[in-house]
Symmetry: D3
Subunit: 313 residues, 6 copies
């Protein structure tokens, strides 16, 4: 079986034509699609610096550099299944709740056609509606790269925000805490109890301190142990990276992941049952030199390879 | 009588100390203040590029360059009355309506102490709550520098937005259309009827085309004629400027005012009864080289001089 | 008759979805298209600062701000005919001649389907292949906004370059010199004879000095006089603008057009028989704050309105 | 006992109100203050790229992101003592010596009220007057993060400069060389003897090479061993960081500390008797994306936690 | 007679080789030089934003775009006399007075060899030592483009600064006030008496207001009338330009000259006896997109053409 | 014997005078030169983002910060031999083949005078002509830092490009594959066979994965083992660095070398017989904050030290 391929950058130069995610084909007929790359241009929940609504456009541009084969795992996702750019969620410019609902509906529609979702956000609230739309009765495992736990109960009085998204997902039964890993947490804390909810719920919280102490290999083993063979969602909040790798985000938290470590960890997750994912909190107006959007495009590619890995090649 | 003066930039270098608007003193006791400079860090209504919430901080920094005396009119506002930085409206990071209400209450509190308001926005919705707060029973005259009429009925289904702010103000009786001038309107139009509401209501709409045809002097005369001796509010949407003078704004509309023309028009309004004003739509994350925030600071100074002019020196 | 419309920015926010030129529909079936907007990502002839190859992608993004109706002429091009984004010329990344040939073939194909071409370049050589492709036996009138005459015989030993493009077009009989206007020429000169070819050939050369002396109205009249009712091609080299309006270009020549003057002149050309056009020399990597690409998008819109004007509405 | 707290960023959004260091209260009455955060806007000694005079303003803005609790040590400095923003040293714009004297007097005044100083510089000369002002008869231990030793005898003929600051401090008896650590030294050398003074004086010089060889844990142990229980001053020259973490500084020296390593080392110094500190050489006009000023704000927070640690919580 | 020519940009591409001012030859033997282009990398007097010390390097780079012939006057300065890049004044990095002395000595040495000086500053104090060095017993006429009068008596207690430079020059008898024109003055004023010294001394002060009112032609006539046939020095403080044309300068004063107006005025001064000149206050670290340095290079070219005009071609 | 030294930055401030590479003297008489630093302003082969033609000018500027002595090895190259800036290859602005030939001729001329070449590119094709020019009958060893193997057979149909440069060099017998190391290879792959040519030819390919697994020390040992005592050329493609260290390059490949690792590896190569080298793919228009050009200047200094090491001091 053969799949419609991305534009061949060896034949049509990268600067030619309208950009799609990784130059993948735009396909409207979801029945033909296996993995759908899409944008969620939404940042209404950002309490400090907005701009993430512009991420899908900018990451599409930056993803012109992605080739086809993963250099470590050798996986070519485009040969294993039909990967397509399926557009953007039509986020309302200021109706917060309408935006959340549109996201859920969008992912639910993908699931209805058997399309696995890979989103480019958008502030980190996107993970909640993505999980809602993807949910089929079994709580998911979760691997969350982040500097924050996102498990506050409320944030400025609102219950559904980027700072509460994981707590809501847990309360709604969308994720199985015992199968969840939060990794990279750091940054000055609100009051010291910031990670209590996640820990009390039974999530495996690996702060950056712990990550640094245990080492990358041990962290990888821990992720694989916690997730096991469970269907798993991967979310990469770009502020999990050190700010030098992601200056274009709402809140800079020094002392985080390098791209190298991120790539190695993600590639080491090959074989897990990754059923969906997102890269969130990318804010192009705050970016410099395209670093953030290029790294976001590469992280999307890594997650794509994980999602494609279980499929026959 | 003597007033607390701004920091003297001839004695304390401009780069020293925390910035306030024009280095004016921060005064909490509103009873001592005649004109209050304040920020409205709000951009939740921006349907394209957000960022205006950061304007008050950035314009305060940029306003370190302002000296005391208007070079054309000779007015020194700081000698005529007590000018003070009275802080920011505490805008909620995502509760739109709460933000609007807070603005109204803030300006109403100023009015309660006889403080004339001069705001640094924030998206252009700020004019509506400022007028609400300032309203004392008599509709105001209005001079609006802008590329857009801001008189749509609804914008993305919402009635209170930067694109509808003037229409709402008119419907609420806050402004007297026969005393209103909109000047600088231009840019590609939605459907050609964009200015109909304003014209039908009786406002004097001077498109940039008409401005260009009639000349600056005639435009000034027209503004003075329409406003007359009526208490008047001045709002300068920074996108009234050509984008080269204001790259830091949500929507760039080429072909607009220069700073020179803006200065001349504003200075020529000296003697009108300017009771309040704002500079809106300044978006520092989109600015380059500080051009926009510097121009915004200078426009605030011009409006300040107008507000101070009628006061005894 | 009804035409497929651009995305309605009043319903789907500008930051949503993949950008096309002015959010016009992408249409592959050229038989359905009346005016084709397309990109020419080519800069191999730039002898100083490259980068114009990235213009089509960046101008598409910037053109999200364009609405539908011309504020001066009232023309809505999208109601008068089918406007579409017809993609990019597939420019080879380093085969200069192949690139030129591809441009010619692309425009010829458009003409074959009766599609009028409006290009986003690309260095200024693009005008030559566009004219070649559009040519049907009758030399065109030409209106060229530019700081340079582009009529050298050779440039670094090559005959087909952005600095010789108009001379070649004339020698090839693609343009009728007596119907040609070059306007805005300025900048330090190579040897003082820089404009001799154009003048000797019979073109109407309006240097910026002459433009300034005669005034905008007289210049408009002169353009209309020279072009008359002849089928005419419009090329706007973005360096015709003063560098403050177009910092993103290969060679900055201070002392040029404002956007306002450009808009007025272009709008005043309404009614001329404009059969094609281009905006050239836009270099996004050198741009600041999106000024250049936004202005380029607006200039394309102005030319589009000219091209649509003669069509029944 | 309760202390006046910083603005609560969970209630008042970070973009609201005038920025102070870490949103701490501005307190004029020094008698109420335990630790004073202040700016030294001075760069008259920079022999290459100036701009550090703008650091206090920019770091205040960037410090809006700081929360209250150290994620590793759990220390909340704001609960342990009264932390306040005590303003800027009034540095003369071009009288070098007056600036130095003003710094000394400023810190001496702080000491007179028992306020521990934490400065945001300003070129690295600031350490000398801070030590002078803080000096009470006992030479201090010193931990200096830096790429340069700053122990030249003269620099361009002047004895009191950022390049000689540590030598002067030693000669003046302000520091006890046997209790001093210089760490991170690197960069091409003037003549190979660059570190001789420090070594000969008995300081513990840990070049970046040695740091890399011995490892972070050993370096920490060495710092703790050298400093012991001695009252210690901490100075972090931002060029101690690799330039990717601090592009905004006068001289870029590739191959330096990451923020992560800096955080770990500083946090591991908890329990040492840190009596004062500074972060120096931050140059906002040279910064990109706020990386440098954000990192500077975070380093100030780390030093603040060290200073607060010994105080009862 | 033939002169050593600049690099021919039609043969050696502009991006090749080390940049000199306008690609003119570097000539050490001053006896061979008629007009010397040189840099004054000095900004120690800037009381707000430093950076002008980097101007000579950046303007050399930007001047790669200059060709040889003035498009309005037809003058080719390189054919009329030997133009050369004669290097930089060796400004001490922080000894203010040594810097001033070095400038004077540098220009005096040029004069000693009959070399006419054209400087690229550097803060505006440079005009004073240039005049001192050039002085031969007869006070010069002066044409000063500026937003400030630079005639304060002292500035932060110092008598020799960019804000007092013209007053000192007048007091020292270097300029003949009756032959001096200050044009473009504007910006908020210190106390309203800012221009009194210049007017009282007999200089012709043309504020921007007056310039705007009288028109460009009248201003030109006035300049020619005042200067007459007197040996004249031209100084262009880049902040005379509106900030959109010169964002890279210490203090932005909106509402100033365009490059077009500057070019026309300067070109209209052809035939005056221009014996030296400078372009000052260019600050590359604050520039965006090379606008300021490109404009500075072009202004230097205009002054060069004026200086070369009287020489036989 | 004594050599002409670079400008002494301790006496003449770094911002003074025209920049040469590392402030080394410009020497035209090649007979006097031992190591020639030169620029190759060429980017005609870049298939994505151009701009590398501007590298020599920008790296010269950035190299003002380089002092004289290597901090790890203690080598002062300027004392061991005559180091000079010998200018730029005169690259034609669009004749690709002429550019390649000019490079070869330039290096051949250097070799003719016994000058060892150290180039600042320019796209990576530069290595091929440098090797051709340097070739004296014995194939060189090669150490290549890079994210790509550059061993494609053709790239967009052309055989001599930056993506094929090493393959051509091998086919032409300029390098001895058994003495070649490629290190740092990574990034998504075209088809998985990207490194086959290099491996099949017998080169030692150390992907970044392998580098990470084996550790820096082992990699150093491997490089020394492979190169042995063979005359060796070093090429550092700046995209070998992680993009945070080199945002200014055509194609960003996250997950690469730090500057620290690069410095350590290069310094550990001291004693190898390094006969020439280059730093390639530096693109200043894409740089931010001077990071890339500063790092490029430092890498050139490291290679210079290697080249000077074998010479008697």
């Amino acid at each position: 079986m053969s799949f419609e391929q991305p534009v061949d950058s060896g034949k049509i130069a990268r600067f030619v034509d309208i950009a799609t995610f990784m130059r993948a084909p735009q396909i409207d007929d979801l029945a033909r699609v296996d993995i759908g790359l899409f944008g969620i241009p939404f940042d209404l929940g950002l309490a400090y610096r907005p701009g993430a609504r512009h991420a899908p456009a900018a990451v599409r541009e930056a993803s012109r550099v992605i080739r086809r084969v993963n250099p470590t795992t050798g996986i070519n996702p485009f040969e294993r299944c039909q990967v397509a750019d399926v557009g953007d969620v039509n986020c309302h410019p200021y109706d917060y709740d309408a935006g959340i609902d549109a996201m859920t509906a969008f992912v639910r529609a993908l699931r209805g056609h058997g399309v696995a979702p890979l989103a480019c956000g958008g502030d980190h609230i996107i993970t909640l509606p993505c999980l809602r739309g993807l949910y089929d009765g079994t709580p998911f495992a979760l691997v969350q790269f982040d500097s924050h736990s996102d498990t506050l109960d409320t944030f400025y009085g609102r219950r559904v925000t980027h700072a509460t998204t994981i707590r809501r997902a847990h309360e709604e039964g969308l994720i199985d805490a015992s199968r969840c890993v939060q990794i990279g947490l750091r940054g000055s804390l609100w009051d010291g109890s910031d990670f209590d909810y996640a820990r009390d719920a039974g999530m495996r919280v690996i702060t950056y301190d712990e990550y640094d102490a245990m080492g990358r290999d041990a962290a990888i083993a821990e992720i694989r142990r916690v997730v096991g063979s469970h269907p798993c969602y991967v979310t990469y909040d770009i502020d999990g990276l050190d700010p030098v790798y992601a200056p274009g985000t709402a809140v800079l938290e020094p002392g985080g992941f390098s791209m190298r470590d991120s790539q190695v960890i993600l590639r080491s997750m090959t074989g897990l049952d990754i059923v969906g994912g997102d890269v969130a909190e990318v804010s192009p107006p705050l970016d410099v030199g395209g670093i953030t959007v290029t790294n976001a495009a590469n992280l999307m590619f890594e997650i794509l390879c994980l999602m494609a890995a279980p499929r026959s090649s």
